[in-house]
């Protein structure tokens, strides 16, 4: 959508710095905007403020010591990040995982996904000027964090999964609390729909804003709910299933128009689907070992392997090359938010700055994950 203002080169344009410290960028991301009045002419994202050399750190230490790092890339949904890393090592070393551990992994990962989506929901609406939903979202998220804290011992950066299983077994209290939460969350989703989905102000701020066409999404390698909002049903849990996902019955919600509203709807529906997955994982939770017998010292064989999981924000891929030692030769982490951010420069041309905030919020970016 180009406005008349762009055609007239003589008009006064100015540069605007959005960030590095701006509440709507959700972290230290800087956007250099070339503005014509209220309209964005050009956008340059400046990254790297939170760069911590995670990939380099992986090359300089034995692989078990990198496990805490994985949780610190995407701190809002740390468990899928743990999951991808331990699965990669298990694939390289050929370690078997007990079925109980697989069920625990899936149930906790999905709980974490719900927690992440709830925080996104609150933050997104806070960007749009609605203060109430974040309070409700945090109330529900708190229940999840309490459940996860009870079994993992930690509230955000869990480091819960271990090669060959999980770090601590779950008990009946976990199963019971999670079932109570699922029941509660289903009721709360109704509240969110009344409060947000039907709200006229929210609809006006998101419908038809920031339309990502399926072709554009493919071109930039967008994954996760942002891609599914554009109508492409691509989810690693279905297309390249890992763990116990092939046995579970769940749907991949997709949008039709690819605007901010569709991305919102997809995430809300994903919460529903995640609740279904957790329920099924708890139903099939068998008795038995929670941590299999993994050799204490694993030498990573000199070959390359990769493992993809569906993190809360999209496709996460770990790619590792071993060198016949416990220190890997190279570890590459493909994070979803980086690709999801890259399209924003093209997407926001000719957009109002207020809509840019709406688009940024709907993309669900986590900056430490981009910088890593």
């Amino acid at each position: 959508m180009k406005t008349e203002a762009f055609k007239d080169e003589s008009r006064h344009r100015f540069l605007l710095n959005m960030g590095p410290q701006h509440p709507a960028t959700h972290g230290v991301l800087r956007l250099v905007l070339e503005m014509d009045g209220e309209y964005v002419v050009h956008l340059d994202p400046v990254l790297g403020y939170g760069h911590r050399m995670h990939e380099k750190m992986a090359e300089a230490r034995p692989w078990p010591s990198f496990l805490p790092n994985t949780a610190r890339m995407d701190y809002l949904a740390a468990l899928p990040y743990n999951h991808g890393y331990v699965c990669l090592i298990e694939k390289l070393a050929g370690v078997e995982v007990p079925r109980r551990a697989e069920c625990i992994r899936v149930a906790t990962s999905e709980l974490n996904r719900v927690a992440s989506h709830l925080l996104w929901l609150g933050a997104f609406l806070l960007d749009l000027g609605a203060f109430t939903p974040i309070l409700y979202g945090f109330d529900d998220r708190e229940q999840i964090l309490d459940i996860l804290e009870d079994i993992t011992g930690s509230r955000l950066t869990y480091s819960y999964f271990r090669v060959g299983g999980v770090y601590r077994d779950v008990d009946d209290r976990f199963v019971e609390n999670t079932r109570v939460f699922i029941k509660r969350m289903r009721k709360r989703l109704d509240i969110y729909n009344k409060l947000v989905t039907d709200n006229i102000i929210f609809i006006k701020r998101t419908e038809g804003i920031g339309v990502i066409s399926p072709e554009m999404a493919r071109r930039y390698g967008v994954t996760g709910a942002n891609l599914r909002g554009s109508g492409i049903a691509y989810d690693i849990r279905k297309t390249e299933p890992y763990s116990i996902y092939p046995e579970l019955d769940f749907e991949i919600p997709v949008g039709s128009r690819g605007d901010c509203f569709d991305r919102y709807l997809v995430r809300i529906k994903e919460i529903e689907q995640s609740l279904r997955i957790i329920e099924q994982a708890l139903d099939m939770l068998p008795e038995g070992e929670f941590r299999g017998k993994a050799p204490k010292k694993i030498k990573l064989p000199p070959r390359a392997a990769s493992f993809a999981v569906e993190a809360a924000r999209g496709e996460l891929v770990y790619f590792m090359v071993g060198q016949d030692s416990d220190v890997p030769y190279r570890l590459k982490v493909r994070v979803p938010s980086y690709a999801n951010l890259s399209l924003i420069a093209e997407l926001c041309q000719g957009m109002l700055i207020a809509d840019l905030v709406s688009v940024m919020g709907s993309l669900d970016l986590v900056i430490p994950e981009i910088d890593r």
Binding site: S65, G153, L195, D198, N199
Partner: protein
């Protein structure tokens, strides 16, 4: 024009429904806790900083100074000092220091310990004025009853 009026009707209705939700929530009991006047009980599984476990028989530490935890630690925050008294075969622990400023609370040290001499602390109220306050002498804490009794 009809779109305008239907927008007006549905918009007003949606706002009123939303307000209804907040009014209903307003009458419900508060979910927040007035910290620090009130505190929540934390789970016994909480992973705080590490603490030495005292030996029930001797009152000392269970640590055999093998150094597994110090080697397993990703951030190198543990330093162990020991000495071998004359005539004794075993090494004796003389100092166990934790640099909590670098600790990432991953718990790999606790898992690596062969004698279960390290446990998690329940302490979460940690604030200080200087970096040095977080260089913890765990053996000293054990003597003062700060150790974990598990």
């Amino acid at each position: 024009m009809s779109g305008y009026f239907s927008d007006l009707y549905h918009g007003t209705k949606s706002l009123l429904v939303g307000l209804g939700v907040t009014f209903k929530e307003m009458l419900k009991p508060t979910v927040t806790v007035h910290y620090p006047r009130e505190t929540l009980t934390i789970t016994p599984n909480y992973r705080g900083h590490i603490e030495l476990v005292s030996d029930e028989k001797t009152g000392g530490s269970l640590c055999i100074t093998c150094g597994m935890c110090a080697r397993a630690c990703p951030s190198a925050c543990i330093s162990i000092h020991s000495e071998k008294p004359e005539g004794s075969k075993k090494k004796i622990l003389t100092g166990f220091e934790l640099d909590f400023t670098r600790c990432s609370l991953c718990g790999i040290c606790v898992e690596s310990c062969p004698t279960d001499a390290i446990a998690y602390s329940q302490e979460y109220n940690l604030a200080g004025y200087s970096r040095e306050e977080f260089h913890m002498d765990l053996l000293g804490r054990l003597g003062k009853g700060g150790g974990s009794l598990t």
